[in-house]
Symmetry: C2
Subunit: 203 residues, 2 copies
């Protein structure tokens, strides 16, 4: 099972599973505090990207692409298109990734209706492996996709999906007060609200 | 790490990771053969849905919904909207799931631009936990979404994403010959083709 490298203590995690699952799904959440002075090792960075690599996708099209920013110069470019409300905390993340999806199949140029869905699957794989390696990861939709396109030279057949911050978790005290209150694993709806038997809706 | 319940033998799996990761990502693939006479236990079915429950999502909106078909009657309804090329094998799966995404936020009714992406993340979580529990899972885009809408009474604010077959892996011999050849874990592009440093494209 999980290697228990995640810095979240079980006692601090209010999440409860309704059915038995690997603990990694409960242990993995989206912190905002980072140790800004601790670079992500190559083994950890490429390890989480390796996990994403093996995600399933429509016709095995693998439409995900990751643009990595891990130098001060590359991160500064990313900071230019991330919303201020996210930048306030993710500016301290040692690695930022832009996850793009290719909107057409490489094999035949046809539109890939599942490009966003498949990119989301790859993000799920990445997020779980990050937790397993003791890394925090946090996906953000709050960025200016058009600015990102321009700043990074992204062509029309790719769609920016999320910016992902990656790094080792830092002290909660470095966050603004409002965000300190939100620095806990988030809850979920009960299964009964998202799982439906037979037809829709029957509750 | 993984509990090694997956029926795929390591020797039969041609996948090789470039960087060390939990073996579950390599062990998990999308078989087409099922033991049609072996129902999925409640613990396994709700266990994989439980894993999906904990996926991260934009504003924790949790836009995924799963419609479960596990009786002959409910499966017959699903068979009515699945493409023949998929039905030829997935008709034997003891469980079929339709994964929907809610296209608006419940909190304020605003459009959720990340509904498909987030549903993909939930599918990634589900797929990995299925493998951990010794279940095969296979997502299909090949179905008639409009027929599914009509047959299951799906309202306009939900979008059908994929049909997922779930069950215990069966003998390869029960598949049509053409599909027997495809009953192996699929390869992936090298990381160098999907990971880019700094800006896009630089290879």
């Amino acid at each position: 099972m999980s290697e228990n490298q995640n810095p979240v203590q079980a006692s601090a995690n209010p999440r409860q599973a309704e059915y038995p699952i690997d603990p990694i799904y409960l242990e993995r959440w989206s912190p905002r505090s980072y140790q800004g002075d601790k670079p992500v090792t190559d083994a950890d960075l490429f390890g989480v990207l390796e996990a994403a690599r093996w995600a399933p996708s429509a016709n095995n099209g693998q439409p995900w692409r990751f643009i990595v920013a891990r130098t001060p110069e590359d991160r500064a470019v990313f900071h230019g298109f991330i919303n201020p409300s996210n930048l306030v905390w993710c500016q301290h993340a040692p690695v930022l990734l832009l996850l793009l999806s290719k909107t057409t199949f490489e094999a035949n140029g046809h539109p890939n209706r599942k490009h966003a869905f498949d990119a989301g699957t790859a993000w799920g794989y990445l997020a779980l492996e990050a937790a397993r390696k003791g890394l925090s990861s946090h996906a953000m939709g709050g960025f200016d996709a058009e600015k990102a396109r321009e700043a990074l030279g992204i062509s029309d057949d790719y769609e920016p999906q999320v910016v992902i911050s990656l790094g080792y978790r830092g002290a909660i005290e470095q966050l603004p007060e409002g965000l300190q209150l939100r620095e806990v694993p988030s809850p979920r709806k009960p299964l009964a609200e998202t799982v439906i038997e037979g037809h829709f809706p029957n509750r």
